[in-house]
Amino acid sequence: MDEQCHQSATPGILVARNPPPMHRPWRFARRTGDRAMTSVAVEGEALADLVLAIAQRRDQSAFVALFEHFAPRVKGFLMRQGAADTEAEDLVQDVMLTVWRKASQFDPAKAAVSTWIFTIARNRRIDVLRRERRPEPDADDPLLAGEPEPSAEAHLSGAQVQARMREAIATLPADQAQVVTLSFYEDMAHSEIAERLGIPLGTVKSRLRLAFRKVKAQVGDAFA
């Protein structure tokens, strides 16, 4: 990896928030220090409040604010994954409508708004573009019963977890960040990633494992 990528993983160096994705897609915004992290968490909690305002009051101005923040990101995400402009545009509208309709299913204790919207966009993309179903464990399945509910005070909000996770991702070594980026942005199978990077499949998998463990370690027991 080049010199700059190593620098971006060095504590104390700030890089631009949205680096040109075509050049170094594996570089992430770097925010250091508690203050910056807290501001990310605060922003995340403000977004969560918007979803709650929709759920509780069908608040249209909250929806407009949410749309302005997320619609261009959802569109950017879908286009990175290969959707054409028109497809992405239609899907964005579909995703944002789903956000409005399912607002009451959003749980700020469990996930950040960006995570929730990411899963909606992922599922709509699989449904509409790939014409497949996405099997997920059924929350009403008796097999899932008996899982202890985390106590509210012992746990961070989804937005706080997200802020920690963002920090963890920003400090990943470039080779690990790269496979994470390719997994999420490029809709590539691991074998395709291996081919693109010219490395063995086992290396792709071990980099993902290391990246994931690092992220888990920094988030601590927030999900426990």
């Binding site: 944002m96 994470v180 086992g202």
Partner: protein
């Protein structure tokens, strides 16, 4: 019940990212139904996806995009699922009345109903199958296999990723012993030969993202019968 064999982090990541096809996703979802710790890992990987969505370079939507969505907001909101009882399902797999098989994860109910009425296809002596996800020229497939006690699945390698989730009974292969809820994951270089090793049929879900390669003459003749 403790699940001992789990998918790799890479597979959980791919599932969370939406990078697995329907067949392999079904395998992961079945395992998740048994495994709280992998459900937690998937939630974490989805949070990584959320970060990735926040970090992406935004692309401007069309000027009329917001208005078009606002014009459609009057559709009925979806109520909070906690507030409404689950609708009755026609034949939930988990309510299968079969006395000899424990309930299937209900994620399978969209694919297969009560197993006691299932039409198993004969594959080989002691081996039967039921197709769940089958793509003519698709990326992956998933099927149920029912293996009689002591029977061996033909020795096979495969070009892509193969996963197996045990739903009932157990099997042993080169990696160890797999019981209900366990997931075996094999990359293309792996060869394995599972043996149903308890006194009951082993029912397992098997999925691949590329055709299986059977080695040896007889198994090669069986490959078309297995339909992989």
């Amino acid at each position: 019940m403790t699940v001992k064999h789990h998918p790799s982090e890479a597979v959980l990541f791919a599932y969370a990212a939406g990078g697995l096809g329907e067949g392999l996703s079904l395998l992961v979802a079945a395992h998740l139904s048994f495994c709280p710790s992998c459900r937690r890992s998937v939630a974490e990987a989805e949070a990584v996806g959320g970060v990735m969505m926040e970090e992406i370079a935004p692309v401007a939507v069309r000027p009329d995009s917001l208005d078009r969505v606002l014009a459609n907001l009057d559709g009925a909101p979806v109520p909070n699922r906690a507030a409404t009882p689950a609708p009755p399902r026609p034949t939930p797999a988990s309510a299968a009345r079969s006395t000899d098989t424990p309930p299937l994860p209900s994620v399978l109910s969209a694919y297969v109903g009560d197993l006691s009425g299932a039409r198993w296809q004969w594959v080989a002596p002691g081996v039967r199958q039921l197709d769940l996800v089958h793509r003519a020229q698709g990326r992956d497939s998933a099927k149920l296999l029912r293996i009689a006690p002591g029977r061996v699945l033909p020795h096979h390698g495969h070009a892509g990723l193969e996963m197996t989730v045990v739903l009932s009974g157990s099997f042993t292969d080169e990696q160890g012993r797999f019981t209900r809820g366990d997931l075996a994951e094999l990359d293309s270089d792996a060869q394995h030969q599972p043996i149903a090793d308890s006194g009951e049929d082993c029912i397992c879900l098997i999925g691949t993202d590329a055709p299986l390669r059977f080695s040896g003459l007889v198994p090669r003749m069986m490959a078309p019968m297995l339909g992989f």
